[in-house]
Point group: C2
Chain length 136, copies 2
Amino acid sequence: MNRTTVEELLMEYGIQPTAQRCVVTGYLLETDCHPTAEEVMRAVKDRLPCSLSRATVYNTLKLLVDKGLLQELSTEPGQTRYDANTGHHHHFVDRESGRIYDLEVDGEGIWISGFELPAEYKADHFKITFYGKVES
Amino acid sequence: MNRTTVEELLMEYGIQPTAQRCVVTGYLLETDCHPTAEEVMRAVKDRLPCSLSRATVYNTLKLLVDKGLLQELSTEPGQTRYDANTGHHHHFVDRESGRIYDLEVDGEGIWISGFELPAEYKADHFKITFYGKVES
DNA sequence: GTCTGTAATTAGAATAAGTCTAAATACAGA
DNA sequence: TCTGTATTTAGACTTATTCTAATTACAGAC
Ligand SMILES: [Mn+2]
Ligand SMILES: [Mn+2]
Ligand SMILES: [Zn+2]
Ligand SMILES: [Zn+2]
């Protein structure tokens, strides 16, 4: 995804497309590894002619989450991770490597049987996280 | 659950039952509110004749997790919560209050239909977290 | 019952993730 | 070009958690 496409995407979401925001968004769209803010910072700072502040990375990530372009993941304590895949999907955490894999849901959607959510619990969303090992 | 019962439980799990550990464990067993380390600290320090160090609370929580008496929850960034319910169960997060409710799984267990875990993904565990509002 | 070595606890310092602040810079619209 | 607002910046600050070095508690040996 090139520079112009990212710019257009940001504008569609009502976000002023600055160089910093483009490069952060571009990185999150192209990676599939659910990076932390720190990882975004490292990955992205060489792509800019200028310096990049930590505050800008955090502000940008928060803005993108607010506007619905990213989702936040809390799979392990002390690390917030970011995911540009905002469709309804789930995750698999490899315990050894810590890597997080996306699990896509096909057409009809997912169905959980074997227990009832009590009537007074009105859920608007759910996520499933699997833990284990990916045998390569 | 009284003092002696907690002591016996800790010993069964191979944990030397000190006063601090008993009181932390006792609190987690009696509450259903998935407290943070800070909340455990506050709730528990008056139950001891002596002072209680932050380091002890964190060490104890980690020990109890290691030995399988507690599980850690990462439902929201920046807060690790603890859960003495270590059977297979799931959670409901009330977005307004932040409160976390347990969802028990009945006899036959839970079944997820609508997508396949790829063959090379060997999962030993999964958890489901629902988000929404509890209407009281 | 003491002695003694190890385990546990303590207060406070150190880290690390994330937020805030105040000043500088960029930029959209007049 | 001018001007006001939005964005970015470096670094201070906060908060959750971990580490450290010294003290205290305790289990087993005598
Ligand atoms: Mn991070
Ligand atoms: Mn906490
Ligand atoms: Zn994902
Ligand atoms: Zn629970």
